[in-house]
C-alpha cells in the first residue's frame, strides 16, 4: 500500500452510454483517502449515473473503477459494498414496510462486515444515534418525512461500515436548520476516517465541507480544484449559465465564506 496520499478511489476514463445518450463521458479523477470530494454539475450532467457506475448499479461502457487497489468495474453492487464502498440514493429508497431499525440492521448485516442480527442491532442503534434518528427507531420507514428518510439513507449506508461513502444530494429538499444538522453529520463521518464523495446542489454547504471539487457538464469533467478555484472558474460559470441564479449563488457564497 502507498503512504498517506493513497487514492482510495480511482476513476479511469469512465464512459456510460444509454443507447445513443452519453451520460458519462471519459471521466477520470482520483480521490485520496480521508478527503471530502464534492461533485457538482447542472441537472442531467451525469452525476448520479457516475455514482451508479462506481457502486456497480451499472457496468461502465468503457473505463475502469479502482477501489482500494481492486478493479471493481462491472462488479455487482452487493460485491462492491462488501469491499467497503457504500452510497445513498438521491431519490430515497426506504424499505417502507420495515421499521427504521430493521432498515439500518439490514445495512449492517449485509454491508462491509458480516454481522448477525444481534450484532447488527447494536450497530444500528449506534448509527441511528449518530444521525439523530433514535426516537424513530420503531416506526415504519415509510412513515418518515423526507428529511428523516434522507437521514435513514445515510444511517443505512453508514451501518455497512464503509471506507468510502457516496452521498447523492443528501441536503436537497431540507430546510436551513436541517441542512446545518446534516452538514455536521457529514463532517463527523469524515472525522471517523471515512472518505466521502458528495454530490450537492446546495452550493454554500458543499463549498464549506469539500476539500476539493470536481465539475461535470454533459457527462464530461470540465473542472477540478479547490472550492475557491471552482467558484471562480469561467468554465464552471458558463456551465451554469442555463441557470444564472445558480451561477450567482455559487460566486457569492464562495466569495463570502
Amino acid at each position: 500500500m502507498m503512504a498517506a496520499q493513497e487514492n482510495i478511489l480511482q476513476v479511469k476514463g469512465v464512459t456510460k452510454r444509454f443507447g445513443g445518450l452519453i451520460a458519462v463521458n471519459n471521466v477520470t479523477f482520483d480521490l485520496p483517502r480521508g478527503q471530502i470530494l464534492g461533485l457538482i454539475g447542472p441537472n442531467g450532467a451525469g452525476k448520479t449515473t457516475l455514482f451508479n457506475v462506481i457502486n456497480g448499479v451499472y457496468a461502465p461502457t468503457e473505463g475502469h473503477v479502482i477501489f482500494k487497489g481492486t478493479d471493481i468495474s462491472g462488479w455487482q453492487p452487493y460485491d462492491v459494498v462488501k469491499l467497503g464502498l457504500a452510497r445513498t440514493h438521491q431519490i430515497v429508497r426506504p424499505l417502507n414496510d420495515l421499521t427504521v431499525l430493521e432498515n439500518v440492521m439490514a445495512g449492517a448485516c449485509y454491508g462491509h462486515e458480516h454481522h448477525s442480527l444481534k450484532e447488527a442491532q447494536g450497530i444500528a442503534d449506534e448509527v441511528l444515534g449518530f444521525v439523530n434518528l433514535s426516537e424513530r427507531r420503531d416506526m415504519l420507514a415509510g412513515s418518515l418525512n423526507v428529511a428523516q428518510k434522507k437521514r435513514l439513507e445515510m444511517a443505512r449506508a453508514l451501518a455497512s461500515r464503509p471506507y468510502l461513502l457516496l452521498l447523492d444530494e443528501v441536503l436537497a429538499g431540507l430546510n436551513p436548520t436541517e441542512i446545518a444538522e446534516m452538514v455536521q453529520v457529514v463532517l463527523k463521518i469524515r472525522e471517523q476516517g471515512v472518505t466521502i464523495l458528495i454530490i450537492e446542489h446546495v452550493m454554500h454547504a458543499l463549498m464549506n465541507v469539500s476539500d476539493r471539487v470536481i465539475v461535470l457538464d454533459y457527462g464530461q469533467l470540465i473542472a477540478e480544484g479547490s472550492p475557491e478555484e471552482i467558484a471562480n472558474d469561467p468554465k464552471v460559470i458558463e456551465a451554469y449559465l442555463g441557470d444564472p441564479d445558480l451561477a450567482k449563488r455559487l460566486m457569492e457564497n464562495a466569495d463570502g465564506d
Binding site: Y78, D97, L98, C109, L117
Partner: protein, 322 residues
C-alpha cells in the same frame, strides 16, 4: 434474536397442535380427513409465504412442487418399491432441486414476468408428464391396496400419513418463523421492499431468492408424496391443478402475506368458506371464480390480510400476532 420468546410463535404452534389432535379426541374419521386437508393447505400456504410474503415474488404455479414431489415419490413407491419413509424425503429433495434449477432460469424475472413464467413452468411440467410413458402418461400411476399392508393396513396408514402431515405442518410453521426472524429473512424482506436497494445494501439477491424458492418448495414436495400415497393414485390433472396454485395465493393473502400466522389463519378460513360453499350446488362449479373474487376483494380492501390488518390496528398485539 430472542424471537422464540414471542407468544406469536407459540400461539401458531398451539393452534396447529390443537387442530391436529381434534380428530383423536373426537375419534371422527370424517373430521380427520377434513383436518388433513386443512393441514395440507396450511403447509402449502406457509411454504409459499416464504417466497410470496417474505421475498415478494408471486409464484402462480407453486403447485408444481407438490405435483412433482408427489409424482416422483409415488413412482418410487409404486414402481421401485421404496418405502414411504424414503419416498417422502425424496419428494422434498426433487422439489428442492427443481426449485433450484428453475430459480436459475426465472428468478431474474421480476413482477408479472416471474408470475407468468411460473404458470408456464407448471403447464410445461404437466404436459411433459402427460406425455411421459414411464410415469403413466395421461392416466398416471396407481398402487394396489395391498401396498398398505406393510403400513399396517389401509386404516392404520390413514393415521400414519395423517401424523406425517401433522409433523410437516408444524415444520412449515417453524421454518416460516425461523426464516422470518433470521438475517436471511431480513435480506428477503429487503428484496421484497426494494430489490435494487437491497442489492446496493449488500444482499446477494440471486442467492437469497434461490434459497427462498428452494425453501418454499421442499415441504410442498413432501406433502405431495403423502397426499397421493393416501389417494392411491396420481395423475397429471390432479397433481398440477392451477386452481390449487391460485387458492394457495388466496390463502396467503387472506391471512396476511409476510406474517407467520397469516397463512395458517388464511388456509383455515379459506377451507372453512370453501367447504361451506361446496355444500351448495350453485357454488360447486364456481370455486375458481369464487377464489378469484375473494382475491380481488382482499387486494382491494385488506391488502395486508387478516393478521396484517389486526397488526396495523392494534400495535400492542405485535408480539402476539406475527
Amino acid at each position: 434474536m430472542n424471537s422464540w420468546k414471542y407468544p406469536a410463535f407459540w400461539i401458531a404452534l398451539l393452534l396447529v397442535v390443537i387442530g391436529g389432535l381434534l380428530p383423536v379426541i373426537t375419534g371422527s374419521n370424517v373430521l380427520r380427513e377434513n383436518i388433513f386437508l386443512i393441514m395440507l393447505s396450511v403447509a402449502l400456504a406457509s411454504s409459499l409465504n416464504i417466497l410470496l410474503g417474505y421475498a415478494g415474488y408471486v409464484s402462480f404455479g407453486h403447485i408444481v412442487f407438490f405435483g412433482v414431489g408427489g409424482y416422483i415419490g409415488f413412482y418410487l413407491m409404486a414402481v421401485q418399491n421404496w418405502s414411504l419413509w424414503l419416498a417422502v424425503p425424496a419428494g422434498g429433495l426433487v422439489a428442492a432441486i427443481l426449485a433450484w434449477l428453475l430459480g436459475l432460469a426465472i428468478l431474474r424475472l421480476r413482477g408479472a414476468y416471474f408470475a407468468l413464467a411460473t404458470i408456464g413452468v407448471n403447464e410445461a411440467v404437466r404436459t411433459f408428464i402427460n406425455n411421459f410413458g414411464p410415469l403413466g402418461g395421461p392416466i398416471g400411476l396407481e398402487v394396489n391396496f395391498s401396498i398398505y399392508q406393510q403400513y399396517g393396513g389401509a386404516a392404520t396408514m390413514q393415521w400414519t400419513t395423517y401424523w406425517l402431515a401433522f409433523i410437516l405442518t408444524i415444520a412449515a410453521i417453524v421454518l416460516s418463523y425461523a426464516v422470518k426472524f433470521s438475517r436471511f429473512g431480513l435480506g428477503l424482506m429487503a428484496i421484497r421492499e426494494d430489490e435494487d436497494a437491497a442489492m446496493v445494501m449488500g444482499v446477494r439477491t440471486p442467492n437469497a431468492k434461490t434459497m427462498a424458492y428452494i425453501l418454499s418448495a421442499i415441504i410442498p414436495g413432501m406433502m405431495g408424496v403423502i397426499f397421493f400415497f393416501r389417494n392411491s393414485s396420481v395423475e397429471p390433472h390432479s397433481a398440477f391443478r392451477l386452481t390449487r396454485s391460485i387458492e394457495m395465493i388466496v390463502m396467503v393473502m387472506l391471512g396476511g402475506q409476510g406474517t407467520v400466522q397469516g397463512p395458517l389463519v388464511g388456509a383455515a378460513l379459506y377451507e372453512a368458506i370453501r367447504s361451506f360453499l361446496l355444500t351448495s350446488p350453485l357454488f360447486k362449479d364456481l370455486q375458481l371464480a369464487f377464489a378469484g373474487l375473494l382475491l380481488l376483494l382482499i387486494i382491494l380492501f385488506v391488502p395486508s390480510g387478516v393478521i396484517g390488518w389486526l397488526r396495523g390496528r392494534y400495535r400492542k398485539l405485535w408480539r402476539v400476532l406475527e
